[in-house]
């Protein structure tokens, strides 16, 4: 180094931190003789036990994130989506991570967090949801057919220019759309068709389905991320919570497959043989 530099003197910024953490979600009422034990808890003003008696899990799930109970139509739509997304399936990277942990005898309580972290990726994963929700909320006012044709045109230009790969293109330009293993995700599209028959379905999902109709002949369509984002947007959830909601909805299947492997011998999943393990030489 040329010389010792002179730097700023270290000083506290004396920022004013709150003395109590605030929440609008949950109220715990302290019991008479122990201030750490509540005698009752309220969720957005509703007594939890009253909710237990009168409402479904899906109603309270919606309440927790939205602050109000859903209408019957909203509840029906959310429950349908929850069932539709309940399991990414044993070939999904997140589920495979959970299964690897399971068969590797990872402590069972770690299996789900491992799978959910992998689900947090940006390739068909939870990281896409908030961008997709913002995109759908904004784009649903556009003519879907014109948008779809422009999307295909821009994709062509981008692929010819080789400026980024296809996945990056969709994440940046039309998050929630793309190819699933090189083609249209049929199960997801069938789920969309079913959701659209429900009275609670909304503009974002309708718009996404219309775009899909144009693009599907090119092997491009709505992905599971796009469907989730569209329904979340139509139900009024904020984009920032979208990734977490997607993780919650897909968690049951990830846990089920992961724990299924936990009781099996580690030979119960393939281990690539040396003959199929190819080390490429760097140029």
């Amino acid at each position: 180094m040329d010389k010792m530099r002179r730097h700023d003197q270290v000083r506290s910024r004396n920022e004013k931190f709150t003395r109590r953490t605030a929440t609008k979600i949950w109220e715990e009422k302290a019991s008479e003789d122990n201030p750490y034990i509540p005698y009752a808890v309220n969720c957005h003003g509703y007594d939890l036990l009253d909710l237990v008696k009168k409402k479904s899990f899906v109603d309270v799930f919606y309440l927790l994130f939205r602050g109000e109970l859903p209408t019957g139509d909203e509840s029906e739509l959310l429950e349908a989506l929850m069932i539709g997304l309940i399991n990414p399936g044993p070939r999904h990277t997140a589920t495979r991570a959970a299964m690897n942990a399971g068969v590797g005898k990872t402590q069972p309580v770690h299996i789900l967090p491992i799978g959910l972290s992998v689900l947090g990726g940006s390739h068909h994963g939870a990281s896409v949801i908030d961008d997709s929700m913002r995109f759908l909320r904004k784009s649903k006012k556009l003519n879907a057919r014109i948008y779809a044709e422009k999307m295909l045109e821009n994709l062509d230009i981008d692929m010819n220019a080789k400026s980024r790969d296809e996945s990056e293109f969709f994440n940046a330009e039309s998050p929630g759309f793309g190819r699933y293993y090189g083609g249209v995700d049929i199960v997801s599209k069938n789920l969309v068709d079913l959701l659209l028959t429900l009275p609670g379905s909304g503009d974002a999902l309708t718009w996404g389905a219309e775009v899909h109709t144009v693009t599907e002949e090119h092997g491009i369509g709505l992905l599971s991320t796009g469907i989730a984002a569209a329904v979340f947007a139509d139900l009024g959830f904020q984009p920032r919570i979208g990734g977490s909601l997607f993780q919650l909805l897909r968690a049951p299947g990830i846990a089920a497959h992961g724990v299924e492997m936990a009781n099996k011998h580690f030979t119960a999943m393939p281990f690539v043989g040396d003959e199929d393990y190819i080390v490429e030489k760097n140029e």
């Binding site: 530099r5 700023d8 000083r11 929440t23 109220e27 009168k54 972290s117 090189g182 393990y277």
Partner: protein, 277 residues
């Protein structure tokens, strides 16, 4: 509908990879050797190179000299302290209080540090900033122009990753690392010189200096690392502080880390209401 309109060549490409792993990095071949970026780990790396040289090799594919690996290792001591007030460390302490495993606590603390506000993720922006700034300087911009570009886009505020430290102004860690750099015989490179020039202007104009992110981003740019390489090298940089905070809480009674009475939470939501049928 059962047709996916897929591109057959994509399916063929996937098929060619089924049941195979193709690696540019290396692997373990039982009874033969373990390879890492062309090196035999047990013959050429273990005992021959420092642990941090191997960490950097795995993170970047580059075998750096021990002097640089020592600098990269030493700064980790500046990046992880056993203070549970720091967000990632508090996850360690809460994990200890909840009696999770030490691995879960440390891993989750590292995951928490994957943040837009602090930790390794911010190094991407830090390195990108100084590398782009140097490109601009070489094209004729002055350091003042580079700062003005930022302040113009941020209503006059000098929001530059690597400068302006949260909680405190100034950064005592920089001088410690500068002394080590001198001791190890490093020259001041062009990124670091520019970083100092920017700091001087910021101190004069805004009373804000460089923080450890800005210093290490510039230093490591001078050593030829990319933003993603720096992010990868330091992916677990907060680990030891999290572990320390976990153990501190683990060795105390459960529930005793920053206990909260019910009314320590400030409920600001809806008043009590009746659940409709």
């Amino acid at each position: 509908m059962k047709k996916t309109n897929s591109n057959p060549s994509y399916i063929a490409e996937l098929d060619s990879l089924r049941g195979k792993i193709i690696s540019r990095t290396g692997g373990w071949f039982p009874g033969k050797a373990v390879f890492c970026h062309g090196y035999s780990m047990l013959d050429e790396l273990v005992g021959e190179k420092s642990y941090f040289q191997i960490v950097i090799l795995n993170a970047t594919g580059k075998m750096v000299d021990k002097r640089l690996a020592d600098w990269i290792e030493a700064i980790c001591g500046c990046l992880s302290w056993p203070d549970p007030r720091i967000w990632c460390n508090q996850i360690g302490a809460l994990s200890g209080s909840a009696r999770t495993s030490v691995v879960a606590a440390t891993t989750m603390g590292c995951l928490a540090s994957d943040s837009r506000a602090y930790g390794p993720f911010t190094l991407i922006d830090g390195v990108e900033f100084i590398q782009n700034a140097l490109i601009k300087q070489k094209k004729g911009s002055e350091p003042a122009d580079i700062i003005k570009e930022i302040t113009d886009a941020n209503r006059g505020k000098p929001y530059i990753v690597g400068y302006i430290r949260p909680i405190a102004k100034g950064d005592e860690r920089i001088e410690t690392m500068e002394r080590l750099a001198v001791k190890l015989g490093f020259e001041e490179g062009e990124h670091l010189r520019l970083a100092y020039d920017i700091e001087e202007l910021l101190l004069n104009q805004f009373d804000e200096g460089m923080n450890i992110n800005g210093y290490m981003s510039a230093f490591l740019s001078d050593q030829g690392f990319t933003p993603r390489e720096v992010y990868s090298i330091y992916s677990l940089m907060v680990a030891s502080g999290v572990t320390a905070c976990y153990l501190e809480a683990l060795n105390r009674a459960p529930d005793s880390f920053l206990p909260l009475r019910c009314n320590d939470i400030d409920y600001q939501g809806q008043t009590a209401r009746t659940v409709p049928n």
